[in-house]
Symmetry: C2
Subunit: 102 residues, 2 copies
Amino acid sequence: MANLSGFAALADPTRRQVFERLARRPSSVGELAEGLPVSRPAVSQHLKVLKGAGLVTEEREGTRHVYRLDPRGLGAMRSYLDRFWDRALAAFKEAAEKETDS
Amino acid sequence: MANLSGFAALADPTRRQVFERLARRPSSVGELAEGLPVSRPAVSQHLKVLKGAGLVTEEREGTRHVYRLDPRGLGAMRSYLDRFWDRALAAFKEAAEKETDS
DNA sequence: TCGGTTGGTAAGCTATGACTTACCGTAAGT
DNA sequence: ACTTACGGTAAGTCATAGCTTACCAACCGA
């Protein structure tokens, strides 16, 4: 089974903001920290978690560290949820039919 | 934007176990608690969170409370991730091309 | 080589989250 | 009515997560 820490990674609102900003454009740590209500070290720590979840990659340009989205973690999460999608629809229909019985 | 607390809901491992067991078959609180390494109240609290995230529905049969998967929360999470899927692939290709430049 | 820019890490604080036991409410069977 | 089964809630404990400031390392331009 793939790495599911992506759920924990996207659970935090500010970390989700970091993720969504990187979806707009690849950015450095400082650029991200400017537009966010937290300090630069906090952003750095969030990026570490996102990277560990495979949601983000790091590329070093001199001293600048540029982060961008990584499809790997995203794909793992998507396929995890897809495994339950059919089940959920089936459960919904069963419940709906049981409802109309009464 | 839809309810994104699903990420927080699935972030916890034992709560994810509850969710996955409900994918197999709709179950009552006690049934769930039997197969899990935590107490029944803990399961009850997890179900409250899952329900709040729209991942699970509750149906009362007398004193038994039967829980089953709810497609609503699952769908919200899927479409959220899908919004970033194309972006992630594009970012990956850009990075790969920049790699071959050097 | 030295000053400035960039960013990761350490240490510490605080809030929150997951868990426990104890308790209470409600429905069903006798 | 009494009892038993089922499950949600309260209160308290402990670990962890997110944040801050302070510090250090690495790379770059003059």
